[in-house]
C-alpha cells in the first residue's frame, strides 16, 4: 500500500476537568490544555506500525480546525508521520462536513487505508469514520482492537457490546480505532526537532467546496445534574443495613 491517511482532531486534554461557561454559551477552553484526541493518537500509532512493517510507504496526518491545530499536527509529525495537512476553518465543523472534507483529501491522495478515532472526546459524536466510508462507498471497520493486513484485505477485530467481532474488508477502507488497539509511543526531543522540517500544508476549508449546511443549531450548554452527596458507613454491617433500608437487598 502506498499511503495511509490519519485524522487528528485537536481537543481539550482528557485530564482536564470540563467546566460549562457561566452564561451557558459553551465549555471553558481559555487557557485549557489542548491535545490530540486520544483515539487519534492510537490511530496514528497503528498507521506508523503498518508503515514500519513495510506495508505502507507514507503516513499523512490531516486535521480540520483553527490554525492552532498545527500544534497537534506537529506532534503527529514528531511521532513519525511523514507529512501533514491542515484544513483551516474558524468555525466548528460537524462530522458530515468533516467526512466530506476528508473525502476531498482522499480523492487527491488515493490512500489504501484511512484510520480515524472511534470518537472525538469533545462532542462524543462517533460518526465521522462511518460517514466517510458511506460517502466514499468503501467498507468501514469501526471500534477496532486488532488490525491484520493481508494483501488487499484487512481482518479487523471490533469491540462490540456482545464481545469481539471479526470482519474482513477489502481495501481501501476506513478503520476507526478503540483504546485497546495499541499503546501510542512517546515523542522524543530529537523527533520534535526533526518534525519542524517535515511538510505541513495548509488549505482553507472553504476552498474545498464542502457544503456546511448548519442543519443543527446548538442552544444552551448546561452542567449535568449533580448527584446529591451520599452517606459513609463504618463497616460491612452498616453497608448491609443501608442497602436493606433502601430495599435493595
Amino acid at each position: 500500500m502506498d499511503k495511509i491517511i490519519v485524522g487528528l482532531k485537536r481537543v481539550v486534554d482528557y485530564n482536564v476537568r470540563i467546566r460549562v461557561k457561566g452564561d451557558g454559551s459553551g465549555v471553558e477552553t481559555d487557557g485549557v490544555k489542548m491535545s490530540i484526541n486520544p483515539f487519534d493518537e492510537i490511530a496514528l500509532e497503528e498507521a506508523l506500525r503498518i508503515r514500519e512493517r513495510g506495508d505502507a510507504s507514507e503516513v499523512i496526518v490531516v486535521s480540520i480546525g483553527a490554525s492552532d491545530a498545527q500544534q497537534q499536527l506537529r506532534t503527529g509529525l514528531a511521532m513519525g508521520a511523514d507529512r501533514a495537512i491542515l484544513l483551516e476553518s474558524d468555525t466548528v465543523v460537524d462530522p458530515l462536513a468533516a467526512a466530506k472534507a476528508m473525502l476531498a483529501i482522499i480523492e487527491q491522495e488515493q490512500p489504501g487505508l484511512v484510520i480515524l478515532g472511534k470518537q472525538a472526546i469533545d462532542n462524543d459524536n462517533n460518526q465521522t469514520g462511518q460517514m466517510l466510508a458511506a460517502l466514499w462507498n468503501r467498507p468501514q471497520a469501526t471500534f477496532a482492537s486488532e488490525v491484520i493486513l493481508d494483501g488487499d484485505t484487512a481482518k479487523v477485530t471490533r469491540e462490540v457490546d456482545a464481545g469481539l467481532e471479526t470482519i474482513e474488508v477489502d481495501l481501501p477502507a476506513v478503520i476507526t480505532v478503540d483504546l485497546r488497539l495499541n499503546e501510542p509511543r512517546y515523542v522524543k526531543l530529537p523527533d520534535i526537532m526533526k518534525a519542524k522540517k517535515k511538510p505541513l500544508d495548509t488549505k482553507a476549508f472553504s476552498e474545498l467546496g464542502v457544503a456546511t449546511d448548519d442543519a443543527f443549531s446548538v442552544g444552551l450548554y448546561e452542567p449535568p445534574a449533580q448527584r446529591s452527596k451520599g452517606i459513609m458507613v463504618e463497616d460491612a454491617a452498616g453497608l448491609v443495613a443501608a442497602l436493606k433500608e433502601k430495599g435493595l437487598v
Binding site: 481539550v12 465549555v27 467526512a99 462517533n126 462511518q130 460517514m131 469481539l164 467481532e165 448527584r227 454491617a237
Partner: protein
C-alpha cells in the same frame, strides 16, 4: 402527521432491550406514528416482540440471507431506501446503532444527533458531550430529516400492547461484497446482562488479577447482579472487553451499582450517572468515587466483601 422509523436490533432472533427504550423516546414526539424496521435472517420472533411494544404502529422486516450478520455497509443502503419516507430515523446507541446510523445519515446527506437523552420538543433535543460533563440542547432546523441515536440509559422500556402488524419489505439497494462477517466471540454467561441488569457489581484495577476477580463474580451471584469492570481491569486482562462500563464501554442505569476498587475517573462515572443507588468500596477515603456514591465504605475489598457476604447471609 410525523412518522418515525426506529432501526431495530436483534441477535439470533431476540430483540435487543434497547429497542423498547428507543420507542419511549420516540413517543415523546407528540402524535408521531412509530414504525420499527428489523433486518436479519429468520427474525420472526424478534419482529413479534417489536410488534408488541406499546406505541409501535407497524413492524417492517427485511428478512434475507445477506442480512444474517449486522454489517453496517450491507444494512445502511437498504435502510436509507426505506428511510426516504420518514421524518425521523432513530437507532439505539449500542455499538450496533453507533456503527450503522451515521452510515445511513451520510447516505441521506444529513447530519446525525448522537445519544439523545431528552426530547424537548419535536425538533429540539438534549444530548451529553465531553463524557457527560456538559449537556447541550440542539435544534434541528425545519426541512431536515432527524437522524439520531437514542441513549438507552436515559429511557425506560415502553410497555406491551396487542401486536401491531408486521410487514415484509424489500428494497432495490445494491448489497456490497466488500465487507464480510467472519466471527463473533462472546463470553457466554448465565448472569444477568450488564446492560439490562437491575443490579451490577463492578471491579477495578484493585482486583489485581484474573483469578482474584472471582471475588467480584461470587459477590455478584449472591446479589443476583450482572458484572462490570473499569477500563483498567479490562486493559489488564482480568475480564473481557464487553464488561467495561464508562464513556467508551457501556452506559448503564441499574437500580443498584456497586463499584469495588474503582477510583471513579470521569470516564468511568459517565457510564453510571443514571444508576439508582451507587455503592462504593475503596480503601482510599479520598477516592473520587465517594463524591458520587450514595453509600460509601472505606476498606480493603478483600476483607470487606466476605464480611458483607456474611452479613447478607445472616
Amino acid at each position: 402527521m410525523a412518522n418515525i422509523l426506529i432501526i431495530g436490533e436483534q441477535t439470533d432472533n431476540a430483540l435487543n432491550a434497547a429497542v423498547a427504550k428507543c420507542v419511549t423516546c420516540a413517543r415523546d414526539i407528540d402524535g408521531a406514528e412509530i414504525h420499527v424496521l428489523l433486518l436479519g435472517s429468520s427474525i420472526d420472533q424478534a419482529a413479534a416482540t417489536a410488534a408488541s411494544i406499546e406505541g409501535v404502529a407497524k413492524v417492517l422486516t427485511i428478512d434475507a440471507a445477506h442480512n444474517a450478520n449486522p454489517l453496517a455497509a450491507v444494512y445502511a443502503p437498504q435502510i436509507a431506501e426505506v428511510a426516504g419516507g420518514y421524518d425521523y430515523v432513530f437507532g439505539p446507541s449500542t455499538t450496533f446503532g453507533k456503527d450503522l446510523v451515521p452510515r445511513v445519515a451520510a447516505l441521506l446527506d444529513v447530519n446525525q444527533l448522537s445519544d439523545i437523552m431528552e426530547v424537548v420538543d419535536a425538533r429540539t433535543f438534549k444530548r451529553p458531550i465531553y463524557a457527560g460533563n456538559a449537556i447541550t440542547t440542539v435544534t434541528v432546523k425545519d426541512g431536515y430529516k432527524v437522524l439520531a441515536t437514542v441513549r438507552a440509559a436515559s429511557y425506560r422500556a415502553s410497555g406491551e400492547q396487542a401486536a401491531a402488524p408486521i410487514e415484509a419489505v424489500s428494497t432495490g439497494a445494491e448489497i456490497p461484497a466488500h465487507s464480510r462477517f467472519v466471527s463473533v466471540q462472546t463470553g457466554a454467561s448465565d448472569r444477568p446482562d450488564l446492560q439490562t441488569a437491575a443490579k451490577v457489581v463492578s471491579g477495578g484495577r484493585a482486583l489485581g488479577s484474573e483469578e482474584a476477580f472471582k471475588i467480584i463474580y461470587d459477590f455478584a451471584d449472591k446479589l443476583g447482579a450482572g458484572v462490570g469492570a473499569s477500563r483498567a481491569a479490562v486493559d489488564a486482562g482480568y475480564v473481557p472487553n464487553e464488561l467495561q462500563v464508562g464513556q467508551t464501554g457501556k452506559i448503564i442505569a441499574p437500580e443498584l451499582y456497586v463499584a469495588i476498587g474503582i477510583s471513579g475517573a470521569i470516564q468511568h462515572l459517565t457510564g453510571i450517572k443514571d444508576a439508582g443507588t451507587i455503592v462504593a468500596i475503596n480503601k482510599d477515603e479520598d477516592a473520587p468515587i465517594f463524591e458520587v456514591a450514595d453509600i460509601g465504605l472505606v476498606g480493603d475489598l478483600f476483607k470487606v466483601i466476605p464480611e458483607i457476604e456474611a452479613a447478607l447471609g445472616a
